[in-house]
């Protein structure tokens, strides 16, 4: 297969070509790796796949580059805005309320997925009912202790029975990295909707796009494999 006309010591720029090919491969990975990841991640499943790129495990992201440290004692959740009874909850207050437990997959918009995560917390709908939502309220905005992240749900989405204000994950208090002491969990949507370090629940008259929405992610982040193009709950916008 080697052309015999060329002498054995004639130089070919194989090195440069290999270099450019590898770099091009990397560029393609950045541009199109998201799709490949989805396939690989679902094939590897859990187990050893957890430690390999593309495996199913949590990746910890933070917008600010650090994690807010809030002690359980000093934690406060403010429910305010267009409500009849604005209130501030301590962690103890939340734990005293009827608890809901659920096991749900956690799907990140960047492609990774963690199956079967057990959560425990208070239904958001219970908090809203107690607060007494005013008729003008059309959406809920969520604020984070990190000072930058924010999220939003329509009032109907916020009343889904599996939207949780969670204080336990895998049977333990939600860790600081995972958004503890209290985070939002919206299992029917991509992970960025599950705001970490929840500090405030504000009832507002229209949807305020959150941090990630302002950076290009869909406001209605329904899980469907194609970044919220279709809504499995058509009645909920």
């Amino acid at each position: 297969m080697v052309s015999s006309a060329k002498p054995e010591n004639a130089k070919v720029h194989v090195g440069r070509r290999a270099f450019v090919t590898l770099v091009a491969l990397g560029a393609a990975g950045i541009a199109f790796g998201a799709e490949a990841q989805k396939t690989v991640g679902s094939k590897l499943g859990s187990g050893i796949g957890n430690l390999l790129p593309g495996g199913d495990r949590f990746r910890i992201y933070s917008i600010t580059g650090s994690y807010p440290a809030i002690s359980n004692r000093r934690y406060r959740l403010k429910v305010h805005g267009l409500v009849e009874h604005p209130a501030t909850f301590t962690l103890g207050d939340l734990k005293a309320m009827p608890a809901t437990e659920m096991v749900k997959g956690f799907q990140c918009v960047t492609g990774w997925r963690v199956p079967d995560v057990p959560w425990k917390g208070v239904r958001l709908s219970d908090l809203l009912t107690n607060a007494g939502v005013q008729t003008g309220a059309a959406a809920v905005s969520f604020d984070s202790y990190d000072g930058m992240d924010s999220e939003s749900l329509t009032i109907d989405q916020a009343h889904l029975s599996d939207v949780l204000v969670a204080y336990e994950m895998y049977g333990e208090p939600v860790s600081r990295e995972h958004g503890g002491p209290v985070r939002l969990v919206v299992p029917q949507m991509y992970g960025y909707k599950s705001l970490k370090w929840l500090s405030g629940i504000r009832l507002v008259d229209r949807v305020e796009p959150g941090y990630w929405e302002q950076n290009g992610y869909p406001t209605n982040g329904w899980l469907d494999g194609t970044t919220g193009a279709t809504n499995p709950n058509p009645s909920l916008a």
């Binding site: 010591n9 090195g15 430690l51 290009g216």
Partner: protein, 213 residues
């Protein structure tokens, strides 16, 4: 041959890596060490849920990564980079015999140059991988300036190439430890002629000024 010997007395030692190359190598080794340690902590730490000074580790990783190409580029640009540039050409230009040697995993006959085809392939692989890691790392850090899907792609690309380069570095360290003369030349810069006769005869001939055609 006699006249040749009179003009150029045979050298007891040969300069394999000059001080610029050695400095760049060890600065890179240091930065790579920092990148691997911090990268592993970030990668495995979040999986095992270990709480540590994550922000600090992220910053060490970021700045080590950003610093990584600087010594290499500086070493190649100025008048001090003559040897660096010459070696770069050696990695790029391959003879057919070298390609054959690599394809047969070292079984084909070869009069080896300064670097054998395995070393050349490693250099190219590591160089290209650094470029990919820099590019994907850049997208990860400043994701806001890129399409959303690039962040997803950069995540998996950065992981895969990082795994690959760590494997290459483990191989590199293993080869260095099992070839002490080669390793020593990265400290002292020189190798003996005896070594060159065995491991880099084509280079030896070139250094002696003998036309090997």
């Amino acid at each position: 041959m006699t006249t040749m010997t009179q003009q150029r007395p045979s050298l007891a030692t040969l300069l394999r890596f000059d001080v610029v190359q050695r400095s760049v190598h060890w600065i890179n080794a240091l930065l790579f060490g920092a990148l691997i340690v911090t990268g592993s902590a970030l990668y495995f730490g979040s999986f095992f849920g270990i709480v540590f000074a994550r922000h600090t580790i992220q910053m060490v990783h970021l700045y080590s990564g950003l610093a990584l190409p600087v010594p290499v580029l500086v070493s190649m640009l100025g008048p001090w980079g003559r040897r660096m540039r010459a070696d770069l050409h050696r990695w790029s230009d391959w003879t057919r015999a070298e390609i054959k040697w690599l394809r047969t995993l070292g079984r084909a006959k070869l009069v080896a140059d300064k670097f054998n085809p395995g070393q050349k392939a490693n250099a190219i692989f590591v160089g290209a991988t650094i470029v990919v890691l820099l590019a994907s790392g850049f997208v990860l850090q400043w994701f806001r300036f890129f399409p959303v899907s690039w962040r997803d792609g950069a995540t998996v690309t950065h992981d895969l190439f990082a795994f690959a380069i760590v494997a290459a570095i483990i191989g590199h360290v293993f080869m260095a430890l099992t070839h002490p003369t080669s390793l020593r030349s990265m400290f002292t810069g020189t190798v003996t002629e005896e070594w060159a006769v065995r491991h880099a005869p084509a280079w030896l001939a070139e250094e002696r000024g003998v036309n090997d055609d």
